[in-house]
């Protein structure tokens, strides 16, 4: 009897701990959700319970967001930047990762780690000189500056990810292709790449989410509202004077967060494999 | 009184019955082998005895005491795992000392015991190495030393030789057996390799699909198998089984010889058509078919190398025979019966 009580008590404590943790992690998003659909009257009312709707939920914030702000433009900007950065990243990281995976000797290890380390160099160290570079290139205040700069952090990590992956592909397949008449590059394109679709997909998702999450470079290089990606636009432009339009703000934050959150969750195991995978045998 | 006793142990994982009512006893100093194919439940049974798993029903007794509710460390057992389970971040010395540290043994006592166990297994010089720097054989010895320091009532070994390469296995096998003879502790050893079982076990328990098929000395199991499973599991090539009266009749390949080599004893004759011959250096294996009889698989005969193969060649018929005393009969359920 005592054992049963102990067991139940233990389970209750366990679930309490889990729920506490989950609430801590997810509450801000619940808050985003509720705020988005709350009417202004309900939202800015100190007397009402904030945790649930006191008046009927409304779509007015969402409508305002899509009609009276540049939100859609920002989403499109982010999408465009994302697509271009992913393309550049793939173009550069795929061959680089492959080359490092097949390079004989310890040079590959060193070079690989060297490239990986650049991922650690923070934007807050480079943003100042890069802002001068961007101005020299005539790209200031344009989203193309971001298209050029963002690959500096997607390429290192994706190269590392792909290097780890390519190492696990047996050489026999390329060697068979070479014997059958391909050049080294041909063998790579025709045999290794088709086998690498899962890894390529991971790289695409990872590069895209990294791009979508970035803030510092965007803040530094871009000031015109039309050029802003969504992470910057939402943070700076949805404030009129000193007044925060919280309903719209939260709606924007929510909508912009959803794709990244979903993508991340689906590919989480692979990302972690990427960080530890290069170092795990 | 047996050192280890299992009474009607049953283990179910959802709908799957892994162990189906096994009762076994291992006496003091005995080397008992649990033998069976992969997935037959032998490892599960071992883990239940160790306390790492709880049985769905049934009792485990160690030294006469029911230990079902005791954790592994209170059962007086020591275990060696398939991959040895050595602590990768500790030196060999600390690996061996670990079980003593958890019991709060005094430092000088720990030192004495670790050195004693290391000496017994000849690994004193490895004390400061890490597991990753050791060979497979050395790792096994460290695992044994770690098991030894606890002065257990029974050793439980889970296929410890299966990760070694073939050459190493033979010497590791004899080392293990030597070790057990020296310490004289009851040992339960799980394996799927019947050569290992025959070579090492004082008694062998043959298990299939969670059920105990037979327990006995190697000789008993080999010469008097209790059913068709045991008969065909032991022996390479396996016992020949030929259909007869709804059941079967069996004879081992080494007893299936050209008629002229068996003069003077009562025999049963079988015309044998040889399809192919394998020369293995120490013996010949002949594969073929019997005339007028249905066999479950290719019939084999094992002849020693020095036997002459007059007139025996692929495609030819020859009169082969088996001594009556070597024939085994099985009924339609596969169980052994006497001579009908």
């Amino acid at each position: 009897m005592l054992r049963l009580a102990k067991k139940l008590g233990g389970e209750a404590a366990f679930y309490a701990a889990v729920i506490t943790l989950v609430v801590f992690a997810a509450f801000p998003f619940y808050w985003m959700l509720i705020t988005t659909f709350k009417a202004d009257g309900d939202l800015y009312n100190l007397k009402s319970t904030p945790y649930w709707f006191n008046t009927a939920p409304t779509l007015e914030h969402i409508k305002y967001l899509f009609s009276d702000t540049l939100f859609v433009q920002w989403l499109m900007n982010s999408a465009l930047i994302g697509l271009c950065v992913v393309a550049i990243t793939l173009l550069v990281a795929l061959p680089a990762g492959y080359s490092l995976a097949r390079m004989p000797g310890r040079g590959a290890e060193t070079l690989g780690i060297g490239i990986f380390l650049t991922y650690l160099v923070p934007p807050t160290l480079l943003f100042l000189p890069l802002s001068r570079v961007v101005t020299q290139l005539g790209l200031q205040d344009s989203l193309w500056s971001l298209v050029v700069i963002y690959p500096t952090f997607t390429i290192p990590f994706c190269t590392w990810l792909l290097m780890g992956f390519f190492k696990s592909v047996p050489r026999e397949i390329e060697e068979a292709a070479i014997v059958d008449g391909c050049t080294v590059m041909g063998a790579f394109v025709k045999t290794v790449l088709p086998l690498s679709l899962p890894a390529i997909l991971t790289v695409v998702i990872f590069a895209f989410t990294l791009t979508m999450q970035e803030f510092v470079y965007a803040l530094t290089f871009i000031s015109s509202s039309e050029e802003k990606p969504v992470t910057l636009g939402v943070a700076t432009d949805l404030i009129r004077g000193d007044v925060f339009y919280w309903g719209e703000l939260m709606g924007a934050a929510l909508i912009a967060s959803i794709p990244v959150a979903i993508a991340y969750n689906l590919f989480l195991d692979r990302f972690i494999g990427g960080i530890t995978g290069g170092a795990v045998k | 009184m047996a050192t280890v006793n299992t009474k009607e142990i049953r283990k179910q994982f959802g709908d799957v019955v892994a162990v189906d009512g096994i009762s076994l006893a291992a006496s003091d100093g005995e080397f008992l082998v649990l033998l069976g194919p992969s997935g037959c439940g032998k490892t599960t049974l071992l883990r239940i005895i160790s306390g790492l798993e709880k049985p769905t029903s049934g009792e485990v007794l160690i030294d006469g005491q029911v230990v079902n509710d005791l954790p592994p460390r209170a059962r007086g057992i020591a275990m060696v795992f398939q991959s040895y389970g050595l602590y990768p971040h500790l030196t060999v010395w600390n690996n061996i000392a670990f079980p003593l540290k958890t019991q709060g043994v005094r430092r000088d006592e720990i030192k004495r015991k670790v050195e004693w166990a290391s000496s017994l297994l000849g690994i004193n010089r490895l004390a400061q190495r890490r597991p990753r720097q050791l060979s497979g054989g050395e790792r096994q010895r460290v695992a044994l030393a770690r098991a030894l320091v606890r002065d257990p009532t029974v050793f439980l070994l889970d296929e410890p030789l299966s990760n070694l390469d073939a050459k190493l296995r033979a010497s590791a096998r004899s080392e293990l057996k030597q070790f057990q003879r020296t310490v004289r502790t009851a040992t339960i050893y799980v394996t799927h390799d019947q050569v290992e079982a025959m070579g090492m076990g004082d008694r062998i328990a043959v298990i299939d699909h969670g059920k105990l098929r037979q327990v006995g000395t190697p000789a008993e199991i080999y010469d008097n198998p209790a059913d068709e499973f045991v008969a065909t599991f032991l022996g390479t090539p396996p016992m020949n089984l030929v259909e007869r009266d709804g059941g079967s009749m069996g004879f081992r390949p080494e007893n299936f010889l050209p008629k002229e080599l068996l003069n003077g004893t009562p025999v049963v004759e079988f015309p044998f058509r040889i399809e192919r011959i394998e020369y293995l250096g120490s013996e010949h294996i002949l594969y073929g078919a019997l005339d007028g009889r249905v066999a479950k698989r290719e019939v084999t005969a094992k002849l020693p190398a020095h036997a002459t193969l007059n007139g025996i060649s692929p495609g030819a018929w020859h009169e082969f025979a088996v001594r009556e005393t070597e024939l085994r009969y099985f009924n339609r359920d596969g169980r052994r019966t006497g001579r009908p």
Partner: protein
Amino acid sequence: MTTIAFDAPRPKTRFLLDRAELVGPLFIAPAIIYVFVLVALPFCLAIYYSVSAYTIFDPNYRFVGLKNFVDVTHSEIFRRTLVNTLVFTIGAQIIGLLLGKIGAMLLMQEFHGRGIARALVVLPWAVPISLATIAWLWMFDSLYSVINWTLIAAGLIDAANRPQWLGQEDLAMIAVVVVHAWRLFPFGVVIFLAGFTSVPQDVLDAATVDGAGFWRRNYQIILPIIAPIVLIALIFGTVFTFTDLSVVYLLTKGGPINSTQVLGTYAFQVGILSGDVAHGAAICLFLFPFLLIAVILLLRSLRRREI
């Protein structure tokens, strides 16, 4: 039928793309060039600017030696900034690590809804940092903070004395640390989970048989074995926190009165907002020695895993 061209003279360029020694470097060149031009060069540029008197208003290059660094270190604000950055980093890391470990231990167990729990726990890390921070901005609002509302409703606080989470010095630092820890801990959870599952079951069983109880197994066996992975994650996390700009910028912009100013935001304020590139660069470079230490530690722990 293919013929083997023994007799025809072979031009040197014919089998160019077959030669691995050429294709290898060719493949890796774009990555190296990209990284060099946009990471190494700007870094050198930062050093270049930091020893000059370059501002947006006076873009002439004049070498001034270490004057900027001296100026910066003499600044009260800068010293406050440095302290803040350290406090903020250490605080967030400790909380993040603790929550990460606890979270991983909880999520290791099988229970109903584990998948959903894991997906929700990952959210703070997954979502863009600026958007998540804005949600917290709203949660800390001076009037409508839901946290304050809850505390008042629970009777723990007087409505007249509601805490200004972003307006009072100590509270602001706490708020910033909490948001950063919130953002970090899912990463910790995932790393610890990966570590826990990488320990071979045999080793855990052996520890159980050897008499190690729950805590001993955790601290003497599991933790030492996963230490390398955890260390790598810790180094990453620390670098991200130490060099972060977004959280502080969006929540407090460094205020109130520089009590939450960190190196990143201060560099932004001086270098971009005020246009003083030279001093801004000097501030940025204070990040570098820290980064160097982190890199060296990372390399050493990577090497240890290799063995």
